[in-house]
């Protein structure tokens, strides 16, 4: 416990570390917590975000495009992008669903949106831990 406290205190003295932790949390859900040796917390948060995202993909949910002409598409895209590396991996691997083909696929779209939004909360939590606002 004392060693972890010393380690975190040393990292906090360089003021860009929390931002790096937040960026890591965006790329890999839970990474910001793992960086700070918060294994259990990070594992549960990662499980939740990744689980939600994977279920959304299994259900063939829609990943919203970056379409400036449609505010709904932009809002959905911003939420999807919150999943970070998961979103990038899905796009890189060619995942493409223009419109949900069923009500079940629509649930998948909502799961994908929520995974991104939850990861935004996870990122902020990692940042707050990094700056010492939370213990």
């Amino acid at each position: 416990m004392a060693k972890r406290t010393e380690l975190l205190e040393a990292e906090r003295t360089t003021n860009f570390m929390p931002y790096l932790m937040a960026a890591a949390a965006w790329v890999v859900p839970g990474a910001g917590h793992f960086w700070q040796r918060r294994w259990g917390r990070g594992a549960l948060l990662a499980l939740s975000v990744v689980g939600m995202f994977v279920l959304g993909l299994i259900a063939r949910g829609k990943i919203y495009p970056c379409n400036p002409a449609d505010i709904v598409d932009i809002a959905g895209w911003l939420a999807d992008v919150g999943a970070g590396g998961l979103y990038l991996a899905a796009k890189f691997l060619g995942y493409e669903v223009p419109e949900p083909s069923s009500a079940y696929a629509d649930y998948g779209s909502k799961f994908l949106l929520t995974a991104g939004l939850l990861n935004m909360l996870v990122i902020m939590d990692a940042f707050d831990l990094g700056i010492g606002r939370k213990k």
Binding site: R41, S48, A59, T114
Partner: protein
């Protein structure tokens, strides 16, 4: 392909969301467990409640 009905999808949604809410907002294990249970029940309660409201409103 995994097929879920609306209640199952809502339960999974509530499960994962409640985990995140409980972990990031509460500090002790007990508080987190209690808050997880409360959030989970609230999500499902709202789903069922709104469903019944819609049925009563629309028949």
């Amino acid at each position: 392909m995994l097929q879920l009905n609306h209640l199952e999808a809502a339960a999974i949604f509530a499960f994962f969301t409640s985990i995140v809410f409980a972990i990031i907002t509460k500090d002790t294990v007990r508080d987190r467990l209690v808050y997880f249970g409360w959030c989970f029940a609230a999500f499902l309660g709202v789903v069922v409640g709104l469903g019944w409201l819609m049925k009563l409103a629309h028949g």
